[in-house]
Amino acid sequence: MTVLPVAAPTRTGISHAKLGTWVFLGSEIMLFGGLISSYVILRSGSNLFWVPPRSMMGVPLAMLNTFILISSSVTMVLALAAIQDGAMARFKGFMMCTIGGGFGFLFVKAYEYNHKWHEGITLSSNLFGSFYYTLTGLHVLHVIGGIVLLATILSQGARGMYAKNHERVECAGLYWHFVDLVWVLLFPILYLI
């Protein structure tokens, strides 16, 4: 297994990997921002925009999902701290907890989708349904991608690839925190407001 060397210094003082990751996250902000702004505009534009009552939305489950993702963000940053300290067992444990949190989120989301579909909130039932499944579905795709990424990082990290250079772990963490951040915004605007 290749051990990544320490990154060469850059003219900006910011590592290429980290700058690239942040620029990528900027594009993700535009992606979700476009959809969320569309929802805000259409929702604000008419008093006839139907929104399901909170009892139908299942706020407790969504709150549980928010807690799961926040917890997984904490374990991700603890995993980074662990590998920076060279504590491999802690790194593996926290990474597995983070991945487990991602799977937990997906499991709850699958239950929610099934429940809402049977309640009549479908992709084509009304405008709210379209937005709900598009926004949360896009987020789910990002969670799945994040799980694949984190599993790769765990596998490579466990074999010593990041013994000298932890940048990839940090960049993967940035992506995962962004996924959490998007849900922190989606939760109130779809479930509570």
Partner: protein, 132 residues
């Protein structure tokens, strides 16, 4: 930046992360609690979004270490956020929210939120949207 070779205090960092976790948990509970207080529509939205912004700030600043990052990253993010805000802030003033009282009454009277709205014959909808 946070490389152990630079001698950062891991234990202090972990304590910080756990404190932020507690704050995020509290803010999540607060968000739901405020929603169930059934505040008036406008203030309710403002409070919910302010709490969401606080959570986003905590995650970005502490978990993503944005507070330690260089100006290039912060400026890039600022540009992105500014562009997204244009999509919202510059469009909202153009919305003309017409009350459509008759249609609302019929819609509520139908007791079925999934029924498509039946526009009355001769109702000129084009005059309602955006004041055009």
């Amino acid at each position: 930046m946070s490389d152990s070779a630079h001698g950062h205090d891991t234990q202090a960092e972990i304590r910080t992360y756990l404190a932020i976790f507690a704050a995020l948990t509290f803010l999540t509970i607060l968000t739901v609690g405020v929603a169930y207080m059934n505040l008036p529509h406008g203030p309710g939205i403002v409070v919910a979004l302010l709490i969401a912004m606080a959570k986003i700030f905590l995650i970005a600043a502490f978990f993503m270490h944005l507070r330690h990052e260089g100006r290039l990253i912060k400026v890039s993010l600022g540009v992105c956020l500014g562009l997204v805000m244009i999509l919202i802030v510059f469009v909202l003033p153009d919305l003309g929210v017409h009350e459509l009282e008759v249609l609302e009454r019929e819609h509520k009277a139908s007791h079925n939120p999934y029924l498509p709205l039946q526009h009355e014959a001769g109702h000129d909808e084009s005059a309602d949207v955006g004041g055009h």
